[in-house]
């Protein structure tokens, strides 16, 4: 990534649900940028708001504060019809559970091409051609188009989900835990597929997951999110070798290692947010180096940064 062209710019995003007494802020003052052609990862435990960020970009949830800029254009709130059309085409999503995200009563042909039909008139012939092309691209046979989702295995269903996103010729794909419902051996296949598609088409990914071990393989940069707040943002390898925030460390220690000896000697770190004393010394977004940021107050930052080079 020599020239970092910003594709998506998120500024002070806040997403809140409910109102008045029941108001719950799921995403609180989140800012980050995603560069063209990179894979950006968001990790956190369930309830941390990682999915909500992805959904806010997709315009499924509306942002209560802040801005989302796609190629410099604001895409949250009220936007023009033509921009809306462009965004729906250029940003696509892959969902977590391939069992639940495909319409059981529709044939693959319809599932994959539904987005195309919404975009405007398209001839039957062209539609079929594009469906076969998309299926081929994800490693499925074009004949599968006339089958129903229940005839496929979990890995194949996830491929159908990917084909549905690809047929729109997107630039940016949000993958929300695309492999956590799959078997280990199938996981590898789907990850390889996503990786290959990125290389071939120059796609940009936002990859949401709870498992850091998968992230290491696929992402370029990672944002760690806890209770709606990004606590650390760093280049992937840097994050693994130099984790600063205690929550990141807790997540790292939870990765199951395929080594029984190391596992027996491992100590599990548990993150408790009461360890911070943020009453007087407020936390800030601190910069360790060009690619590594952490949320900390002055005292914490000077202590944490001592441990790294």
């Amino acid at each position: 990534m020599k020239d970092k062209e910003v594709l998506l710019d998120i500024k002070n995003l806040e997403v809140a649900f409910g109102s008045h007494k029941n108001r719950f802020v799921a995403v609180n003052d989140v800012s980050f940028q995603i560069y063209k052609g990179e894979t950006f990862g968001v990790v956190g435990e369930s309830g941390s708001g990682k999915t909500t960020i992805g959904r806010a970009i997709m315009r499924i949830h509306s942002a209560s504060k802040g801005e989302i800029l796609y190629e410099g254009e604001k895409i949250n709130g009220k936007i023009s019809k033509s921009l809306d059309k462009k965004i729906t085409q250029k940003i696509q999503m892959i969902f977590q559970d391939p069992m639940a995200s495909l319409n059981e009563r529709a044939k693959v042909n319809y599932i994959v091409s539904e987005g195309l039909m919404n975009l405007g008139k398209i001839s039957e012939k062209e539609r079929n051609e594009r469906v076969s092309a998309a299926l081929k691209e994800v490693g499925l046979l074009p004949e599968f188009a006339s089958r129903f989702p229940h005839e496929f295995s979990g890995g194949q269903r996830q491929r159908i989900g990917i084909a549905r996103a690809l047929i729109m010729e997107p630039d940016f794909i949000i993958a929300d835990e695309p492999i956590s419902a799959l078997d280990v051996s199938i996981r590898a296949q789907v990850l390889n597929l996503l990786d290959r598609l990125q290389k071939e088409k120059g796609l940009t990914y936002l990859f949401v997951a709870h498992d850091l071990s998968v992230m290491r393989f696929i992402t370029d940069r990672i944002a760690v999110i806890h209770e709606g707040v990004i606590v650390e943002l760093s280049e992937t390898e840097e994050l693994f070798s130099n984790p600063l925030h205690p929550y990141t460390k807790a997540l790292l220690s939870a990765i199951p290692l395929p080594n029984p000896v190391a596992e027996r000697n491992k100590t599990l770190r548990i993150y408790d947010k009461s360890m911070h004393s943020y009453d007087i010394d407020k936390p800030k977004w601190c910069k360790l180096n060009e690619n590594h940021y952490v949320r900390a107050n002055q005292a914490e930052f000077s202590e944490w940064s001592k441990s790294c080079v």
Binding site: E45, S46, G47, G154, D183, V184, S185, I186, R187, A188, Q189, L191, N192, D195, R196, H210, D211, L212, S213, V214, R216, F217, I218, T236, E237, F240, S241, P243, A250, L251, L252, S253, A254, I255, P256, L257, P258, N259, P260, V261, A262, E263, R264, K266, L268, I270
Partner: protein, 347 residues
């Protein structure tokens, strides 16, 4: 670990068949397995390998169209494979052999408070116990599995708990019956990694406290490194390799075990493709000839397609079903990534 070699459950040549609208599916193909008292045995395999079906035969939970057609299952001097009536199973299920399912959302009753669900389990074990006594005991179980404020949590419903907390409740219910064997069927698959690590710890604590024997089913080898004393690898309804955790991770012998280990994302190097297993698992409706893994196995020998390999003993505790271990077989090197497993350490 395995300082006593007392066998608690012994399966001999168990075969399970399902009748699917007239078509016969052989889910388990003559599996033998001894489970030792007090150990944690992990059964690992892809979906469809028969790992769940196999353990369901231990407590009579097979679907109606499935049957143990061959073999014996010895537990406590009785052959469970002979059990035909539900009445027989009621003595075993829960009391002797309990099970924890994958999805904590679906294994709890949404209409009953979690306290009452634990009390129900206690009362099945001990019919004469008073409610207040049972309640006291239930609260104890809740605090043991790591639920804070057990007194107030006792009165709450499952929807008021998070996924990890629900799984703790399920564990408490299983413990309440005081079983000897606890079968955990993918207990952490639906959970986050941080929660997963905590649940594994709870299971370990419960095992020590109640001297349980645990059978742990999973598709993810990474998870079992933490908990398992021994690991059995299943493929197409057969245990193709079994050994201690160290032996399976550091000295695996079956090409399928190699493939499973190599496809873990933990071993991936950015920019390179992850290892994947080519092809599909065999069709269990047809009879499998030779080694079931042979068509997907790059190291397959000719004999693999003709004759089913027997177990070859590697050490006293480690055996594998592959012709590669036959003295006449050519030497095949293990994939490189597996050798690196030993160097993997925590960050």
């Amino acid at each position: 670990m395995m300082n006593n070699n007392e066998i608690i459950l012994s399966a001999k040549d168990v075969e399970v068949k399902f009748d699917l609208r007239g078509q016969i599916l052989t889910a388990i193909r003559e599996v033998s397995l001894d489970i030792y008292k007090g150990e944690t045995l992990a059964i690992v395999g892809e979906s469809g390998s028969g790992k769940s079906v196999f353990t369901k035969t231990f407590n009579g939970l097979l679907d109606k169209n499935g049957k143990v057609t061959k073999g014996e299952l010895w537990y406590n001097g009785e052959d469970l494979a002979r059990y035909k009536k539900e009445k027989n199973w009621l003595k075993i299920r829960g009391h002797e052999i309990a099970m924890i399912m994958q999805e904590p959302m679906t294994s709890l009753n949404p209409l009953k408070t979690i306290g009452d669900q634990i009390v129900e389990a206690i009362r099945i074990r001990d019919r004469k116990i008073t409610y207040s006594k049972a309640k006291k005991e239930a609260i104890e179980y809740l605090s043991e599995v790591g639920i804070k404020n057990p007194e107030s949590r006792f009165k709450q419903y499952p929807h008021e708990f998070s996924g990890g907390m629900r799984q703790r409740v399920v564990i408490a219910i299983a413990i309440a019956c005081k079983p000897k064997i606890l079968i955990c069927d993918e207990p952490t698959t639906a959970l986050d990694v941080t929660i997963q690590a905590q649940i594994l710890n709870v299971l370990k604590e419960m095992k020590d406290k109640y001297s349980l024997t645990i059978v742990f089913i999973t598709h993810d080898l990474g998870v079992v490194a933490n908990v398992a004393d021994r690991i059995a690898v299943m493929y197409a309804g057969d245990i193709i390799e079994i050994g201690t955790a160290d032996e399976i991770f550091f000295d695996p012998r079956h090409p399928y075990t190699w493939a499973l280990l190599s496809s873990m994302p933990q071993l991936g190097i950015k920019g390179n493709d992850l290892f994947t297993i080519q092809g599909n698992p065999p069709n269990l409706f047809t009879e499998i000839k030779g080694d079931a893994f042979a068509p997907r196995n790059p190291h397959a020998l000719q004999i693999d397609f003709i004759q089913r390999p027997p177990y070859f003993q590697v050490t006293d505790t480690h055996k594998a079903k592959t012709w590669l271990l036959d003295p006449r077989a050519p030497k095949v090197e293990k994939p490189k990534g597996i050798l690196e497993l030993q160097n993997l350490t925590a960050n």
